[in-house]
């Protein structure tokens, strides 16, 4: 059996859902050793056990909560010195990316990022990586050991498999030299009523919305449908809306029942984060926009007129 590690990301003491997604795949690939670091690691270990971890290595040093990436990379490198895994799975999230990059560089290993699947092949591992907005799927073979693969959130469905993990204290001392980039404050911005990642309907706006002042039109539609509002990278970059609303390659991955893309051309950067949606509706003034080629319904027209009319129609229909 292959020895598979899952870096179980915790954020402010809370086990991230991506960790359990990774568990679902990891247990297909071999014996799973999860690593949970920081406040809440021991509580997380119980959950990870239910999801198939054979062993969970834990350490609740506050340094993991307070300092960026380096303490976690130290702990993983220390553990790597004792046990040689065949595969290390990370979620393709900002925090895990920071840790994975440092670890790979320290071990002198390559890594495969942005993967949507991992399979065992010829005694090693091959990751499937979407390219060109998901139009192409590359098979990337990891040449070294361990294979280090970062998997896009929502690639696998988390499910309990039953079981209890053997919880082991990960012996590592975090030196002062790794306590450098310190998180001094965590600021939550206006929390969404419906979480974008979990919403059944997502309405996303792009440059075609004309400006930030028109985004309330999308919020009104989202409220009527019980959905959430997302955005393209272009408008996040332009500062119209916060990054927390970005859908796409380096934003959030969503797979709602209905995705309504308003004034979004459909650059690959964006589509890779939403193409798994069940139904896609695009509203765009340009019939040639790439989004039209992947939409179940493409409407060529003026979003600023169509969206309010649609909101009114939804409200009327729902009574």
């Amino acid at each position: 059996m292959a020895n598979v590690w899952v870096y179980a990301e915790l954020n402010a003491g809370k086990l991230q859902s991506t960790a359990l997604e990774l568990m679902a795949k990891a247990r297909e690939l071999g014996d799973v050793y999860a690593i949970a670091l920081g406040t809440g690691a021991k509580a997380a270990a119980a959950t990870l056990g239910k999801h198939g971890a054979k062993v969970v290595h834990v350490n609740e040093d506050k340094a993991f909560d307070e300092y960026v990436a380096e303490p976690s990379a130290d702990a993983l490198a220390a553990l790597h010195g004792q046990h040689q895994p065949d595969l290390i799975l990370f979620a393709f999230t900002p925090d895990s990316r920071d840790v994975a990059g440092r670890l790979a560089a320290r071990l002198g290993k390559g890594l495969i990022s942005n993967a949507s699947d991992v399979v065992a092949k010829d005694g090693g591992f091959v990751a499937r990586v979407p390219y060109f907005g998901g139009a192409k799927l590359a098979s990337m073979r990891a040449n070294g050991k361990p294979a280090i693969v970062l998997v896009r959130p929502k690639s696998f469905e988390a499910s309990e498999s039953g079981g209890t993990a053997d919880v082991k204290e990960l012996a590592v001392t975090i030196g002062e030299g790794s306590k450098r980039a310190r998180i001094v404050e965590r600021v939550a911005e206006a929390s969404e009523k419906v979480k974008l990642e979990d919403a059944k309907v997502v309405i996303s706006g792009g440059r075609g919305m004309g400006g930030p002042d028109n985004f309330p039109l999308l919020e009104a539609l989202a409220n009527a449908l019980g959905g959430a509002v997302g955005a393209s990278r272009a408008v996040v970059d332009a500062g119209w809306v916060p990054y927390s609303m970005q859908v796409g390659q380096t934003g959030k991955s969503v797979r709602p029942g209905v995705y309504i893309a308003v004034g979004i051309s459909g650059a690959m950067q964006h589509t890779v984060g939403m193409k798994a949606s069940k139904v896609i509706i695009a509203i765009n003034k340009d019939a040639e926009a790439p989004i039209m080629k992947m939409a179940d319904l493409g409407v060529v027209g003026d979003a600023l007129k169509i969206v309010p009319a649609l909101t009114a129609a939804v409200k009327a229909k729902k009574g």
Binding site: L111, Q249, L310
Partner: protein, 264 residues
């Protein structure tokens, strides 16, 4: 040219900005039928890097110092560096070597680290991710290889003496993260509106130095790639549905689709 020196009171900062030449994000042709990249595409300085350069220039204007652009790519990547020099950066370094064609992420980070290290920067600024690769893995690897702390996805940067403080974007807001220099930061494209190069800047850029380095000068051997592409296949494509002009009935059509999906 501004001459930079390290200063304990932090009044001068030496900044390295990594830059990359990428296919023009505004063009749409990506692949030839044989799955190779379309070669005749326009190439431009990565728009995300323009924001990194702008942030570097603003820090230099506030604190004094020097902004050095470091890039890796073929000879023509000098055009991307030159654009940054015309915005006001002081000089450039281009790592260019035939052996670097198709370099993987570790080799890229190793080459950049070898070129940046002798510069002894106070601050290394990278874009959070490139427009073409969009994986954002080079910066944390680079930070590790340079022995620097990293503060990624910064939407705001403040330098006060030897302390760098950033607002780091998170899924639900932001974190305030601080470290002492030297440090590596990655910035979001929203951090600063890149300036246009002035005619004077464009003229001045012509005589600015772009040093070119090969792998042997960096003391790096290519080695075995960490990962190899086994194959590239068409992903299961979504089939295009109906495309309609809004003649006043579009709302009804959308409602029908929403009803089928059982959300209204």
């Amino acid at each position: 040219m501004t001459v930079s020196r390290r200063s304990d009171n932090g009044s001068l900062v030496k900044i390295v900005v990594t830059v990359k030449q990428v296919p023009d994000p505004n063009s749409t042709i990506l692949l030839e039928p044989d799955n190779t990249l379309a070669r005749d595409r326009e190439v431009v300085l990565d728009p995300g890097d323009e924001c990194g350069i702008e942030e570097g220039l603003q820090l230099k204007e506030a604190h004094g110092g020097e902004v050095v652009l470091v890039s890796m790519g073929p000879e023509r990547a000098k055009d991307a560096i030159r654009k940054g020099l015309s915005m006001g950066a002081d000089r450039g370094v281009l790592i260019s070597d035939e052996q670097l064609a198709g370099a993987d992420v570790l080799l890229t980070a190793r080459a950049l680290a070898a070129a940046i290290k002798p510069e002894k920067p106070d601050l290394v600024i990278c874009a959070t991710e490139s427009y073409d690769g969009s994986t954002g893995m080079v910066p944390p690897m680079l930070a590790e290889l340079l022995g620097l702390p990293q503060m990624t996805i910064a939407k705001k940067v403040e330098v006060d003496g030897s302390t760098v403080k950033v607002h780091r974007q998170t899924a639900d807001g932001y974190q305030v993260v601080e470290a002492s220099t030297p440090a590596l930061i990655t910035v979001t494209a929203g951090i600063a509106e890149p300036r246009y190069a002035s005619l004077k800047g464009i003229m001045a850029a012509r005589s600015k130095e772009i040093k070119q380095l090969g792998l042997s000068e960096l003391g790096i051997e290519r080695g075995e790639p960490g990962e190899t592409i086994d194959g590239l296949a068409d992903a299961e494509a979504r089939k295009a549905g109906a495309i309609i002009e809004d003649d006043g009935t579009a709302v009804d059509r959308i409602i029908q689709v929403l009803a089928q999906a059982k959300v209204v």
